[in-house]
Point group: C2
Chain length 339, copies 2
Amino acid sequence: MNKLWNIAIVGAAGTVGAELVSILEERDFPVGTLQLFASAGSVDETLGFRGEDLDVLELSEDCFAGIDLVFFTSDIEDSRSLCPSAVAAGAVCIDCSGTWRMDPEVPLVVPEVNPGDIAQYRNRGIIANPGSSTVQLVLPLKALDDFSPVQRVVVSTYQAVSDSGAGAIEELRKQVGELLNGRPIESHTYPHQIGFNCLPHIDVFLDDGYTREETNLVDETRKILGNSEMKITATAVRVPVFYGNGESINVETAAKITPEKARELFASFPGLKVVDEPGGNLYPLPVETAGTDLVSVGRIRQDLSIGSGLNLWTAADNVRKGTATNAVQIAELLIAQYL
Amino acid sequence: MNKLWNIAIVGAAGTVGAELVSILEERDFPVGTLQLFASAGSVDETLGFRGEDLDVLELSEDCFAGIDLVFFTSDIEDSRSLCPSAVAAGAVCIDCSGTWRMDPEVPLVVPEVNPGDIAQYRNRGIIANPGSSTVQLVLPLKALDDFSPVQRVVVSTYQAVSDSGAGAIEELRKQVGELLNGRPIESHTYPHQIGFNCLPHIDVFLDDGYTREETNLVDETRKILGNSEMKITATAVRVPVFYGNGESINVETAAKITPEKARELFASFPGLKVVDEPGGNLYPLPVETAGTDLVSVGRIRQDLSIGSGLNLWTAADNVRKGTATNAVQIAELLIAQYL
């Protein structure tokens, strides 16, 4: 009989926490016990798992006893002290919070792209899950890079509000209703109206004028692709979409890759789905990726402005493949090959 | 006393037609008579102008008699036969329909960028108004190009539904209402759901995989900037916004331009407004440009991936500065300098 694993999810009351519970069930993860934790303010909830209602319990110092694997969700802003406590109690942490992504001792993993990096979990007992916009970018880049090295990337994102959690989903829903009825709106999660608007502002601004989201996208992509000098620049924009991120990607490669060849490379790369039949109005759509675990890639065109470039448009479910599914895939690899 | 001009608007029942009437009044254009025309199906409308209700009349062969200036709106799909009829009757045509933009005999004009090209109206009696995404792009590019030649541009657009006319505005409004209430939606203007979604599809697809919108953006930008070899590539995306287009622009120039210098160049360029104080959450927002006549430019950052590049984010009212205001500005220049 296969070993079963005792799992904890920290930040279980949020959007990603609920999705992690669903995905563990869907993928038939060998769960022994599943314990759900949240900070004191968010514990009056239950989540269904394999026909049982599990209570979300309050986080405490000793809640990691007997746990093998802990998922920290992106709703936990700082896992700086929590992860080491869990590791000290004997668990391995898969952290979606952003805290550990650029720590040189912590591997940052997209299983289809750099599975071997998982071995570095031994350094600190922690594996970091990238941001959703990074996961969506590195899959097509890796498929091309394996064929001809990527020289430069210019990416513009179209990011859904679910990246910002349940409060943002409610804010968009409410604003749109008020605006359609000509009533005044309130903004709490975002500094400006998101309903029927685009905000070129995700996470905080840094000194060089980039947002942390844009800088993370650049730094995380370089780390995952193992190329610290990769030329890449990003503009990250929030759009009034509930689920599903879009990315407009311009990529220059060392050798010319035709759209036909690129389609072939993407079609044979795990985690990618080619949706590229303009004649039939088929191209990646954020709403159609909701609930799926693949990154859709389409609008594959030769960039006519340079000798060896391509334009791509991708879409993915930011909460699933962008975050929760990727984290569970990391756990699957970890238990299969390392624990 | 200044001369007054007899004006006609063809396609007056549409979004741009109504905006043209408002802008002629706002800018105190020296109008003698104003006549409004539409195709037979759309004539049961009136539009207010200087306190009078003007009927929208049915287009006919002889409706251009005595007219000095005709605006053809973007709601007229093909002005191929209409413009020559108006010119034969003695009028000059300002065409927003897209029919004449790339005709080498017809000037394509953004008054702040290439005002001198208006003189070529004499060739055919027609001046073409660019597409809204082009107007928004060429203003900041020209400001930079005057200082150091633009070498390459990668642009991704975030375009409002009002670009597609009144039917599209109603489609977004209706879909959003149905979706919030969990009811099924219908799509007519667009091939897929636009509510809470992004469509990487504007206008028809061409053989090379680009849309006509993307190709127009490239070709029109080259023509207006007078550089037929300019390296520029585009991805055009429809977003669920009513009014106001956004553009994420990556631009490489011959010499390095710092963000400070770029801000200075933009601030002194007519038609542009610098909105770039990230610390105060100030950056261009599509909804804030609604009803304005300037292109807002912000998020001005050095592109760290190349030696001399910048990233910009712009927003503009696609129906006003993107279309109707630009057309009236062309008319103002024409009567001031040429007629």
